[in-house]
């Protein structure tokens, strides 16, 4: 499945609905369904804010692939290359607005990584395995892999 939408934040609820549908169809429990929808919402929000500076008329694409052991999400844009420091999660002890989107992605996904070879903008690949579940032990310790 591939979804291509404008970078209008009013459309984020559609992204969440699509992800919920696919995650439910793939067999994830309801708690994980919500987590996956939120992770993709945060990734798309990062694209809108950081790659397109809140421009509502650009495009982003989201591809979802189901495998026997996992579900993969690939989010692509043609915007400005996102610098890792711009979206680095903040320390949870540093209570201030912002800096949580990437933290939530890392909490809810088993893998997340930018494709450094992608020249058209940004390509973020996120993976969730069926066997792993979000737990408190994942908090703050998730690292980009793959």
């Amino acid at each position: 499945m591939k979804l291509v939408i404008n970078t209008d934040p009013r459309l984020l609820h559609i992204v969440r609905s699509v992800i919920r549908y696919y995650a439910q169809e793939a067999g994830f429990p309801e708690a994980d369904v919500d987590c996956l929808a939120m992770a993709i919402n945060e990734a798309a929000s990062n694209v809108i804010r950081h790659a397109y500076d809140n421009r509502p008329d650009a495009r982003l694409s989201l591809e979802v692939k189901s495998f026997p052991d996992r579900i993969e999400f690939v989010l692509e844009d043609e915007g400005r290359k996102v610098q890792p420091e711009a979206i680095r999660p903040r320390s949870l002890d540093d209570v201030r607005p912002g800096g949580l989107g990437t933290y939530f992605i890392r909490c809810f996904m088993d893998e997340s990584s930018y494709d450094s070879t992608f020249t058209g903008g940004n390509r973020l690949r996120m993976v969730k395995y069926f066997s792993r579940r979000v737990s408190s032990s994942d908090e703050g310790s998730s690292q980009e892999r793959g």
């Binding site: 009013r10 939120m38 949870l92 002890d93 607005p97 949580l100 989107g101 933290y103 939530f104």
Partner: protein, 119 residues
């Protein structure tokens, strides 16, 4: 998302409903900061009707918390659904906000709550 303000005694209650995300959090932000800057001594956000909140919504609440220190406003949340509470806990923010189960408890306790959150 809908945002409406009620005044109950000396408390400004901001009723939110629907999804709070990158798009709709701007409405909540505008209302929340306006209430705080207008000199209201107590501000509560009613989240009973909030079905979803993302990092943008959380950032708005944290911004309100920070402003409450400057304006010396007592600030609290009530009626959080389990998903909203889980998000706050995941971000370890559940201890910095004054969080009440329901409106009755919030109205009873906000005036005696430690002001300015835990910042």
């Amino acid at each position: 998302m809908k945002v409406q303000v009620r005044n109950v005694d000396n408390v400004s209650v901001i009723d939110c409903s629907g999804d709070v995300d990158l798009y709709s959090s701007t409405d909540l932000r505008g209302t929340l900061l306006k209430e705080m800057r207008s000199g209201k001594p107590n501000v509560l956000v009613n989240m009973t009707g909030v079905s979803y909140i993302d990092s943008s919504g959380i950032a708005t609440l944290v911004e309100g918390l920070q402003l409450s220190r400057e304006t010396k406003t007592r600030f609290g949340l009530f009626g959080l659904r389990s998903n909203a509470r889980s998000v706050l806990e995941l971000a370890r923010l559940h201890t910095v906000f004054a969080i009440f189960d329901n409106e009755k408890e919030a109205l009873e306790k906000i005036a005696t709550t430690e002001p300015f959150g835990g910042l």
